[in-house]
């Protein structure tokens, strides 16, 4: 049970160019900031990134895009990123757009050992092109396959040295699903504690799914759309 690694660089040390990665987060919320920075330092390229979004210019996956380390994005929404747009239009970058719920469920299917499931999203649209359809109870569904990722890189709020993870608020999003789906799962956490310090009823991802864990540093947690109301 030696899951704790020294830091982000150690956690990603063996990720090769050409790897298929899952990266947790929704927008910039709950993204594995430390591991993304380590991947930038490491300089691996030709990455396929399964991630709901592609970050923004200068933050999140945007940092990997800027260094041209990404070959393909599998995402539901990739706006807010000028460099992304430039690479896409110039043909340097491939994009596979997947409906958000389908993206999430294809992660879940991998973590649950289900090779394929039937889902509704995209029936009758171009997303259904080339996909097998099937009717159940009068509704048409698409056959959607589980993702097969080499590494899942997630960010949790708290974790213990056995790899158990707890997420906070909407920073949960895709993180637990991807954590369960990776062949090798790397978790960076804001607070790493000893076994027994997390309530076993509150664990979102049991440690069996997590292979490497470390306490991250210097979280910026950038806010994409700061919206507030005035005090009365």
């Amino acid at each position: 049970m030696k899951k704790v690694v020294a830091g982000a660089d150690a956690a990603v040390h063996d990720i090769p160019s050409g790897a298929i990665l899952m990266l947790g987060g929704f927008g910039l919320c709950g993204i594995p900031e430390n591991c993304i920075a380590a991947l930038v330092r490491k300089g691996v390229n030709n990455l396929t990134c399964i991630s709901n979004n592609a970050g923004v210019d200068g933050f999140g996956i945007g940092l990997l895009l800027k260094q041209k380390q990404v070959k393909k994005m599998i995402s539901s929404y990739v706006g807010e990123n000028a460099e992304f747009e430039r690479q896409l239009l110039s043909g340097e970058l491939e994009v596979d757009l997947v409906p958000q719920g389908t993206l999430a469920t294809r992660c879940m299917a991998a973590g649950y050992g289900m090779p394929a499931v039937f889902l509704l999203a995209g029936v009758g649209t171009e997303v259904a092109d080339g996909k097998e359809t099937r009717e159940f109870n009068g509704k048409t569904y698409l056959l959607e396959h589980a993702f097969d990722a080499d590494y899942a890189i997630v960010k949790a709020w708290k974790g213990d040295t056995m790899g158990n993870l707890i997420f906070k608020d909407t920073a949960r999003n895709f993180n637990p699903l991807m954590a369960m789906a990776g062949k090798i799962t790397i978790a960076e956490v804001e607070e790493l504690v000893q076994p027994g310090q997390l309530d076993p009823n509150h664990i979102h991802v049991p440690g069996v799914y997590v292979h490497r864990i470390f306490q991250g540093t210097d979280y910026e947690k950038r806010i994409e759309q700061r919206t507030v109301r005035k005090r009365d």
């Binding site: 929704f26 539901s76 990739v78 719920g101 029936v123 009758g124 709020w157 608020d169 909407t170 947690k221």
Partner: protein
């Protein structure tokens, strides 16, 4: 004339019933939350993983871990619950969310909707829109009746790539309220200051005026 965005939101809010679970899309739909009638308790779902979305935080109380599907900082309410993205769309697919309100670029008389992609423009992606329109049990579209060029957005069939097929049940536009039926669009209310003739002129899809059509109360 016609309704402004706030009035469209206000009219849609009148569709809410006590106990509803509601998903509000980005744009006009978000404004619906400001007009929930007294005595009607609804729970707002944010598809990134929250039931019980509260108002924007007070300045200085923003939490980067707490955002809505539009990536805006938000708050929770007593009784909120967080969950992952698979459960979030699972509850929508399973029909547990009573109403989804979203915007559209085009709606067809058969209920098809297009709201994610314009050919030759940069595609940002469908986000959760395709999941929502395919799976939600009741969908209301909030939108302008015509595009900036003055062309109808209520069409015989959509010209843009589809987001979903045969799913829109009702439209609230700046001109009125329209049921989407097997006979096409049925105008059941017109906005104050808008004439039936204007609605007919600006609706390209098959349109019927309900015998009981009335002026909207907003």
């Amino acid at each position: 004339m016609g309704l402004n965005k706030e009035q469209i939101a206000k009219r849609i809010a009148m569709e809410l019933r006590d106990g509803f679970y509601v998903n509000l899309g980005i744009g006009i739909p978000t404004l619906v939350a400001n007009y929930i009638p007294d005595g009607v308790n609804v729970v707002l779902q944010s598809e990134n993983g929250l039931l019980g979305m509260g108002p924007f935080p007070f300045e200085g109380e923003e939490d980067p871990d707490l955002i809505n599907a539009g990536k805006q900082t938000i708050t929770t309410l007593p009784g909120s619950a967080f969950f992952d993205s698979a459960m979030s769309f699972g509850m929508i697919r399973a029909g547990k969310v009573d109403l989804t309100v979203l915007g559209a670029m085009e709606v067809a008389e058969n209920g098809d909707i297009a709201n994610w992609k314009i050919p030759k423009k940069m595609v940002k992606g469908m986000g959760g829109a395709m999941d929502l329109v395919a799976a939600a049990k009741n969908i209301i579209v909030a939108m302008q009746h015509t595009n900036p060029k003055g062309e109808s957005k209520l069409l015989p069939r959509c010209s843009l790539p589809l987001t979903g097929v045969g799913c829109v049940k009702k439209i609230v536009s700046d001109l009125g309220v329209f049921d989407v039926t097997s006979d096409g669009f049925v105008c059941i209310e017109y906005a104050p200051g808008v004439t039936i003739d204007e609605i007919i002129a600006k609706t390209a899809g098959r349109l019927t005026i309900s015998p009981s059509v009335k002026e909207m109360a907003v």
